[in-house]
Amino acid sequence: MKKNILLGHGSGGKLSHDLISNLFVRYFDNPALNSQTDSALLNIEGKNIAFTTDSYVVDPIFFPGGNIGKLAIAGTVNDLAVAGATPLYLSSSFIIEEGFPIDDLEEIVKTMASEAKKAGVKIVTGDTKVVDKGKCDKVFINTSGIGQLDEKHIDISSGKNIKPGDKIIINGTIADHGMAILSARNELKITSDIQSDCACLNKMIKKVLDVSDKIKFMRDATRGGVATVLSELVDNKNYGINIDESSVNINENVKGICEILGFDPMYVANEGKVVIVAGSEDADKIIETLQKNEFGKNSSIIGEITENHSGKGWITTEIGGKRIIDMLSGEQLPRIC
């Protein structure tokens, strides 16, 4: 039977992984790509460079806590920052639907400019394409970014120095972005005051890297949520993970909507959350640093790397039961970012 692309191929979950491995990596095949980290790590004439790209198709383009432009800056900046790199330069390409209001475009571009300024990055190149009405939905944005990577942070992307006993940290409440988008879509006629957590985290991450040299791994928990990051982290490894569900912070209103709609917040997208694995001796110091930052106030240690059940993520549920954590399968919410 002829196979077609399904929405689930863009979910960031298992179908996406299979598509990437079986198609893109298979044909584009090279060491930098094959490591499949958030940013490609390149060495150009002795200098370590992190390079990443991302396309943004979020629906709706304006949502509580941000818009597609803010997302396009934050997403790419964060992909560089979690690799341990200092984001420097971004490109931005627009695919715009004929008839799209220029005022809306200006608002998006203004947001991008101010986010880039806050993050300390410059948008230095770009491209514009316009397609017939109905051939794309309002506006799609692609941003690519490069950043400088210090040699001592080179292993953060791969997490190769992780060992049992390391702590797993997250910089606040989860599932805000996904549920903000869902409420904003208004299909469900739910009114809520949920705000997306969309934010550039590079300055906060830099502070953390400054106070601790025990950062073993970082990943931004976007599509597929925290659960997907954790299951990817542990997949095929000789260590396991144990998460304590009661130390994962979730806003009450987010929890409520997740309950009504049957979403597991661990699988819902974030746009301003980084999962950090760090040596336990530095965990308190890291939490303290994070909590001083506006994007890290509700930071907590959510679990640790374990020697037992290697290759598997386990969670101690809020009632004290135990079960596994798996990556997202199928599509949870299309066009979340």
Partner: protein
Amino acid sequence: MKYIDEYRDKNIVRKIVEDIKRISKKEVSFMEVCGGHTMSVQKFGIPSLLPENIKLLSGPGCPVCVSSRSYIDQAIAYSRLNDVIITTYGDLIRVPGSTSSLDIEKGKDADIRIVYSVLDALNIAKENPDKKIIFLGIGFETTAPGSAVGIINAAQQGLNNFFLYSSHKVMPPAMKALVDEGVKIDGYIAPGHVSTITGSGIYADIPEKFGLACVISGFEPVDILKSIYLLVKQVESNNPKVEIAYKRAVRPEGNIKALAMMNEVFEPRNDWWRGLGILQNSGLKPKEKYRNFDAEKMFDVEVEPTKEDKGCICGEILKGLKTPKDCKLFNKACTPEDPVGPCMVSNEGACHAYYKYNRD
């Protein structure tokens, strides 16, 4: 979260688990017959808290799982008709038919839309007067009143482009059939949502005729553990009866208004259940007077011959005779991305719940 946190309180949970351990002496198996329970049990890791002599089994409580593959095949055939919009709950989208799925058809040309309620489907019908809107009505007594409301509203509003393709089923015949087939269980964790509509009377035969314990349960961990405690107590004291451990939602008489609407629109028919075969009066179809809203009456489609997958033991799992881990396809040929049987697709399916939360 108020009204939820109380039912997930670690200390209350610990207390009930201790109570269960204190009174539970016999080896017992309890079956839940509601997909919501299956999911909660796995999501909260409830089996890991129970003593080894208490086994939980998942029964035929997921509507998507018990429906026949030919239902999907026929829905796919409808979706290929000109001017038809299929409206469906999200669960059905990825269920494999014999050679395709609604998801695959959606990726081609079919207009298939996920809705959260039959009222969304009615709105689509109003907004698209030149199209025919077929709503895939699936579920037990919980969702059947919703479909009934759809037809009643369509009739009142004179909407002649709204149609129901019913796969609605009722729970009691399946619960009885399982016992008749000799499935070894000691009691039922009876479905909370179904009972909200039907009340507790429909289970009277379970203790009276079959001597099995029966407790209607809510969906939070404290609800489920409390129900298990009551079941154990009934078994240990040899005093089977129907108890409601979900009194904040279930009344003995049920939801009279919803039942009236269901009875207004539907009549029983014999229906096929995966694993159980054809059960007398276990399905619901629109009455003759509503035939104009019945997709089966109003559309003539050629449906491909149904092909069931070899090796899939969904049927045995739905009867509680096997668990997903007994299936040789589980986590190999059959995963949520590439499901063989419906129990792997539906969020409420036993295989899906085991895959997601209990794969080790």
